[in-house]
Amino acid sequence: MVEDQGLTAGFPAVSVRGLRRSFGAIQALRGVDLDVAAGEFVSILGPSGCGKTTLLRIIGGFEFADEGRVLVDGNDLSGVPAHKRPVNTVFQRYALFPHKTVGENIGFALWVARHKKADIKARVSEMLRLVRLEGYEDRAPSKLSGGQAQRVALARALVSHPKVLLLDEPLAALDLKLRQAMHFELRRIQAAVGSTFIYVTHDQEEALTMSDRIVLMNGGQIEQIGSPIQVYSNPATRFVSEFIGEVNLLAGEVAVVGDERDGSVSIGVQSGNTKIVVPHGSTVDVGTPAWTSVRPEQMSIAPLSTLLPAATNRLEGVLESSVFLGAFIRHLVRLRDGQMVVVQSGVQGQFLTMQPSTEVAIDWSDSVGVLLCE
């Protein structure tokens, strides 16, 4: 069971325990445990095939786990069919009913539950106002743009005020600008409605933008759960550090433990030729293979010829290329032992004029970096 990080106090809106699901020889979920607090916006993030969609569908009731339980508000819903769960879903391609108008689509859940016509009408208008589509009641779904259809799907799923809303990569079909606008819209709507949102995506930027907490999944298992800052700054595994943002992973071996500076470890990298210092709390044995994860923007780069006194960690190499990206520059450096490293710098003059094949030094502080052993 993965250690939860930062779960706020409160009765979990959704709890998942020991979920296992296989499709023939493929294990989609290998024992997943998760608690989602009421009102949270949680993203389940991972590459294709990691099991995130399967997890979502099991919570929604479209599929059933081989083992494990799903609880919503403390009630075990494991064998309950989808249409009896207080959980609604926004589908990736919206799945609007083509033969019904926008208003009928949105009011569907209420109509099924046999609400009065007047009530339905009122709630539909309320929802349309919420998603900023007033006046669209009588529109046909085929006449909607992608973004509008997506908002109708959202309104339709929210009209019955479900405790939990599941979103299956709903923004995947939208273009970048629209997607980014929808990130803010979704958070606004969630705040207005107060439901718990569980959002599945493979786009780490999306997850970072919107979530209270991020659940990282890989190969059917949860690798880490935490707030965006936590998973970015303190990735628990190599997978997490590589998946969120860009990262440099320096291969090495634990050389000295518990340096004079408390809570740090000295790692031998570059085939043992250089030593770097990485902050690390728990114990680790000397000789253990370890990866040091350092973000490109945590490193600084300068030509060897302009050598300044070594801050703490320093590696030397040759500049292969620099790519100008508007707000910053991305430098690709080949270290002495052949490993490639990405360094991000500002756009000041000295960085713009560095030529490929220049010998450079890469520095970073010994209080940044994450040690990953596996």
Partner: protein
């Protein structure tokens, strides 16, 4: 909604069982109908072939006379042979006529108008069978349109247009070409035109492309087309009855007679199964022949 925390596996299992029950309920009418009205009748008909009949009654038995008569009597053999040959001719001609048409509307010059042509073919398929036979009998008759037309230029009238096997074949081809067009169209429509282009680009001429690329890909449709036309034609009896004359009679006529005036159902049944068996053999031979000529399509 308070739901007790029950044993997960049993509630999942319960759900699966309900789904299965719905599935069975929906599929049963079809399955039951086919069993009762398709499979059972064939079994009973087969049983009858071992029976015997008199003017007054018809009963089952373990009588092999009907079968020996069906298989050995030269009259029946001749008719069987004629039916098979007619069927093969109709099948082959229909496919030959249908293929260029289907090709033209899928990969050829008329592919932009495929909807229209296909619809036209479909309509002709639904033009009642009886009516068409009637039409051909009139058309081919002494005072029919063809003879009248020939009369205008001083020819005819020819009486050999009607009441022979040729008339039967022509009529059946006219009725069945649409039946051949549909499956051939269907399989050609799935052929990627880029494949033809590629073959042409690598230097293959029209005929070679046809032989080594197009036909194998369309083989499924060709086989289905031949099979459909052959099966219907070989077993037909109304067409020979009206346009076949004495020379054009086919086994179907005799079988129909046994179930009509002659009231010898057991014999009719034995003949019918013999016919069906022979038809099966022919279709198998056709498929074998196709494979021999390397007209096998994409591996299934």
């Amino acid at each position: 909604m308070r739901v007790k925390a029950t044993d997960t596996l049993s509630s999942v299992a319960r759900h699966e069982k309900t789904e299965k029950r719905w599935y069975v309920a929906r599929l049963t009418p079809l399955a039951a109908f086919l069993t009762i009205f398709f499979v059972a009748p064939f079994v009973i008909l087969f049983m009858y072939s071992f029976g015997s009949s008199t003017i007054f009654e018809l009963k089952f038995g373990s009588n092999f006379e009907n079968w020996s008569s069906a298989l050995t009597d030269s009259f029946f053999r001749t008719l069987l042979f004629r039916s098979i040959v007619n069927g093969v001719m109709v099948g082959v001609i229909s496919v030959l006529l249908a293929f260029p048409f289907a090709y033209a509307i899928t990969l050829g010059p008329l592919r932009k108008h495929s909807e229209f042509f296909l619809f036209a073919v479909l309509i002709s398929l639904f033009s009642a069978y009886v009516v068409r036979i009637y039409a051909w009998r009139t058309l081919l008759g002494q005072s029919g349109i063809i003879n009248e037309g020939l009369g205008v230029v001083g020819l005819g009238p020819y009486d050999w247009l009607l009441f022979n096997r040729e008339a039967v074949v022509v009529t059946l081809v006219n009725v069945l070409v649409p039946m051949a067009v549909l499956p051939i169209y269907s399989s050609l429509a799935q052929v990627d035109p880029a494949l033809i282009e590629a073959a042409r680009d690598s230097g293959a001429g029209t005929w070679r492309t046809l032989y080594s690329v197009t036909l194998p890909l369309a083989s499924r449709g060709l086989n289905a087309g031949f099979a459909l036309c052959f099966l219907i034609a070989a077993g037909d009896y109304v067409t020979p009855q009206f346009v076949g004359g004495i020379d054009g009679q086919m086994l179907g006529n005799v079988i129909a007679e046994q179930f009509g005036v002659a009231f010898n159902w057991p014999l009719g049944s034995a003949l019918a199964f013999m016919l069906v068996g022979a038809m099966g053999v022919v279709v198998a031979l056709w498929l074998f022949l196709m494979r021999l000529l390397k007209f096998t399509g994409p591996l299934r």
